[in-house]
């Protein structure tokens, strides 16, 4: 079993933002240990995402190193008032991965995108049992459920963009759909995904509450 990092793990999602903001502040003061703690916490989801989008371990390493180095060089680019660190960091990883993929030839990207769409139905086998990983896997399952609730055309537009690295215009030509329709589908898909995730979160809360109250309300 992987040893738990010597650094205190963020106790809960609600405290995670404050934990990260403090570490980013310390990075700004030149504290390499703070950078290391952020890396220990987020390198795995960052690398997993970069690897999925680029489809190449070497590209993925490059992207992850570049993004963490950017945190080190310009920590002020992360603004805690504008949302959580994980969202911000993984968005940077995603954008850089997509840029890397766009430099690659189209054929390879197409294969990867189709693979990404196909892979959404299967849950990946566990490879590690640390708390973070288990929690992230549950989180992933929740997103897969939410994605399955989307109409096929919306799910296609979203996954081709996010996992395949295609622009809206490319998706329009790939799926032989007017550009305006692709834009609308993407916008609706994100909106519905949010609603579905909120519903699933409410459901989970309800289950916990029911258990705590012995099922009486």
């Amino acid at each position: 079993m992987r040893s738990v990092a010597e650094s205190p793990s963020p106790p809960s999602r609600s405290d995670e933002d404050a934990w990260c903001a403090e570490l980013v502040r310390r990075v700004g003061a030149g504290d390499a240990r703070a950078l290391e703690q952020l890396y220990d916490r987020y390198a795995r989801p960052a690398y997993s995402l970069a690897r999925r989008v680029t489809g190449d371990p070497a590209f993925a390493e490059e992207v992850v190193q570049e993004v963490f180095l950017a945190v080190w060089r310009q920590p002020e680019r992360f603004q805690p008032s504008r949302g959580g660190f994980a969202s911000w960091l993984l968005a940077a990883v995603h954008h850089k991965s997509v840029d890397a993929v766009r430099r690659e030839e189209a054929v390879r990207r197409r294969a990867l995108a189709l693979q990404a769409v196909g892979g959404l139905d299967a849950s990946d086998p566990p490879t590690d049992r640390t708390e973070d990983v288990v929690e992230e896997r549950l989180r992933g399952e929740r997103v897969r459920q939410a994605l399955r609730k989307l109409p096929d055309s919306q799910r296609e537009a979203l996954t081709l963009a996010y996992y395949g690295g295609y622009t809206q215009r490319e998706i329009a030509s790939l799926t032989r759909t007017p550009l305006g329709t692709v834009k609308t589908r993407m916008h609706r898909a994100m909106h519905q995904l949010r609603t579905a995730l909120d519903d699933l979160a409410d459901l989970a809360d309800l289950t916990v509450t029911d258990r705590a109250e012995g099922g009486t309300r």
Binding site: A29, G30, A32, L35, E36, Y39, D40, A43, R44, P45, Y47, S48, L49, R51, R52, P57, A60, E61, V64, Q65, F68, L69, R73, R82, G83, G84, A86, S87, W88, L90, A91, V93, H94, H95, G119, D124, E136, R137, R139, G140, E141, V143, R144, A146, L147, L158, A161, Y162, Y163, Y166, T167, Q168, I171, K183, M186, H187, M190, L193, R194, L197
Partner: protein
């Protein structure tokens, strides 16, 4: 609650915010939106909102463990280019060498030369306390001409840290640096088997 009055065409920007969050914009739209967002709090919030959803997509990919040496490389790179800040942070390194057992293998240790000092950054070398040994840094002359020279010794206490080398000779003149483990306190004329070696950057 009534929506604040927006400049004409602002709805379009909100749609761009969502597409931006999943990196689906054409390069021209991306630039245009980037400029707009910098000065528009409403769009910055729209992006943050959309990113909260997009991040969930990031969590539903197959789980892969990053290679162990990536962390060492990142921290060595960070040590190299720390921008000089008033009031404390270290100046950037002058030169650096990534040492590995064989060319192309994972990095065992990174030697950072800064001013007249040398530090070894590693989380791979085993702690030597209690073994009656010290690690020794060697300078290897160009083209294998002549024997390596012991430059100084250092101790490793465990975990990823920057360990200072007690230098007895300047390391800058050697094209290649190497590390061996020797009896504590000794700087022998020839090294025990070399643990790792690597070329020094210019």
């Amino acid at each position: 609650m009534s929506a604040p009055t927006l400049p004409a065409g602002h709805d379009e920007y909100e749609a761009l915010a969502v597409a931006w969050a999943i990196a689906a914009l054409e390069p021209a739209d991306r630039d245009r939106f980037g400029e707009h967002r910098a000065g528009c709090g409403r769009c910055a919030d729209a992006v943050a909102d959309a990113l909260d959803v997009a991040v969930e997509l990031a969590y539903c990919v197959p789980d892969s463990e990053p290679p162990a040496e990536l962390k060492g490389r990142l921290l060595a790179a960070a040590a190299l280019d720390r921008p000089a800040k008033p009031g404390g942070a270290l100046p950037p390194a002058d030169r650096v060498a990534a040492l590995s057992a064989r060319a192309g293998d994972r990095t065992v240790a990174t030697v950072v030369l800064r001013g007249g000092t040398a530090d070894v950054v590693t989380d791979v070398l085993a702690p030597n306390a209690g073994r009656g040994t010290s690690y020794v840094l060697w300078g290897v002359p160009a083209g294998g001409a002549g024997a390596p020279t012991a430059l100084g010794s250092f101790e490793v206490t465990g975990g990823l840290h920057s360990y200072p080398v007690r230098l007895v000779r300047a390391p800058g003149g050697y094209p290649v640096l190497a590390i061996s483990e020797e009896d504590a306190g000794s700087l022998p004329a020839t090294p025990n088997p070399v643990i790792a070696r690597g070329a020094l950057s210019r």
